[in-house]
Amino acid sequence: MDYSEKVMDHFENPRNQGKIEDADGIGEEGNPTCGDIMKIYIKVSDNIIEDVKFQTFGCGAAVASSSMATELIKGKTLEEAWELSNKAVVEALEGLPPQKVHCSVLAEDAIHKAINDYRIKQGLSPWEEKEGKEHHH
């Protein structure tokens, strides 16, 4: 598999890997085709993502995408985190092989689920996925 050095770095030294025991929101997303599962934990205060951790069962691209995505949303507002696209993750990773782009979508979806999990727990209505968003399953 032809991964960029950036991907390999995030794969070998994943940032924010682990679990937040008292998470405010948890999102889990799986790809039924390749069997992979990604879990995102967020800790929120004042609408800001104070801490984020991930657990991933998946390929190199899935692990690297999780790691990069968590880095990109840490310290951001929920709105900013919601706007993070898989495309931005791929770019930050200096590209992914074409058949591995779907792995980065997993990260975007898991973050959305974590944010909505938080919103529901707060008694807020969940945000809706954008129309026409790339669908990958």
Binding site: M8, E12, G18, C34, I37, Q55, G58, A62
Partner: protein, 385 residues
């Protein structure tokens, strides 16, 4: 540790090939002599391959590899015998060179029965016998599986096929040069092999075709190979294949003993990892093949980490296949979807040393632990962080 994928050409084999590439055989040699030297070298290679299989030289046809041999054997018999019948029997764990060929033939109107395998990947000869129909024209079952290393009961299947008068092909790409083979006593009608699996050159292969077999060419054209396989002979490749096979067979006993010892140490060591399982048959397996499953983790990740440590390996994980589907072999052995993704195949060769095994047994458990710590599926008691 990916010797089942491909092996480098042995130095003595390369030396034998080079004069046929450059056409320089030292002096004195006219151009006329070159043709003669080439012809004799091809004849010698044909004898070497025949000897390795217990066949006659005129039953050996050179091809461009295992894939061509498989395609030719199966399509060749089907197109030649379609007036006799349309039914093929095979297994669900064949290499894609066989399985995709069968699938294409289904689209052309042939019918295929897939004999199920047990959890070790073994075909039961009684099942083959029961699947034979009046219109069965071919049985194709692989000699040894490339992923899990299981060796099939070829002699038993051959006996049934011969008794029932049905042609029997075996894809022996993983077995030739590694396991004793005798096409006569095993009642094999056609057998595929590939040069680069036993330290011969890539892009070379052969098909053994027994005398009673009727099949059409896959390569139409010139009169080469007794008019059955057209195309300018790849003389250096053929010379290399013949010598590499002769050397492999002459060293087989010794190599096998050495590999079995290393293989068993590897298997024992890897199975010490909790929640790990061996794939394939514990005894009826290739001496170079180790295939284990580690629960809760994904195969491509293991490969990447191993690669970083200088070790090549292979996996049946969906993430590592271009189709994003898990190994059809492991699935056919009945492994549940949750764990099929964590498979790791290590295949050793004569270059593998004890130190390599020690190193592997040191790094694999560390990698497995690291990935398990990362995985959302891992139960708490198996985590270290």
């Amino acid at each position: 540790m990916d010797n089942a994928a491909t092996t480098p050409v042995r130095p003595e084999v390369l030396d034998a090939m080079i004069p046929f590439m450059t056409h320089s055989f030292g002096n004195p040699s006219s151009l006329y002599d070159i043709a003669k030297i080439s012809r004799e070298a091809v004849a010698k290679a044909r004898s070497q391959v025949a000897a390795a299989l217990g066949a006659q030289p005129k039953e050996i046809y050179f091809t461009s590899g295992g894939t061509e041999s498989d395609n030719w054997a199966i399509k060749g018999v089907c197109f030649a015998n379609k007036n006799k019948g349309k039914h093929i029997i095979t297994s669900p764990i064949e290499h894609h060179a066989v399985s995709h060929t069968c699938e294409w033939l289904e689209k052309q109107g042939f019918e295929v029965t897939y004999i199920p395998v047990d959890k070790y990947g073994l075909v039961n000869p009684d099942d083959v016998s029961a699947a034979i129909r009046d219109d069965t024209i071919l049985i194709t079952i692989m000699f040894a599986n490339n992923e899990i290393g299981t060796i099939e009961p070829i002699a038993e299947i051959g006996k049934i096929a011969r008794e029932r008068g049905i042609l029997f092909h075996t894809d022996a790409v993983q077995a030739v040069g590694h396991v004793p083979i005798d096409v006569v006593s095993m009642n094999i009608d056609m057998l595929s092999l590939s040069g680069h699996k036993f330290n011969g050159p890539k892009g070379t292969g052969a098909l053994y075709i027994g005398k009673r077999v009727k099949l059409v060419p896959l390569m139409h054209g010139g009169d080469q190979e007794r008019k059955r396989r057209a195309g300018t002979e790849n003389v250096p490749g053929i010379v290399g294949l013949g010598l590499a096979l002769e050397l492999s067979v002459s060293e087989m006993k010794e190599t096998t003993e050495h590999l079995k010892e290393l293989r068993n140490r590897l298997i024992d060591g890897l199975l010490k990892v909790p929640k790990s399982h061996l794939n394939g048959h514990p005894q009826m397996r290739l001496s170079n093949n180790v295939n284990v499953i580690f629960e809760y983790i994904e195969g491509e990740s293991i490969l990447l980490m191993l690669n970083r440590k200088g070790i090549a390996a292979s996996t049946g994980s969906a993430c590592n296949s271009s189709s994003l589907e898990p190994s059809h072999v492991l699935t056919a052995c009945g492994l549940p979807q949750e764990i099929v993704h964590g498979s790791l195949r290590l295949t050793i060769g004569d270059m593998t040393e004890e130190g390599d095994v020690d190193y592997l047994l040191e790094v694999v458990p560390e990698i497995v632990q690291k990935l398990r710590n990362m995985s959302p599926l891992t139960p708490q008691e198996l985590r270290t962080t």
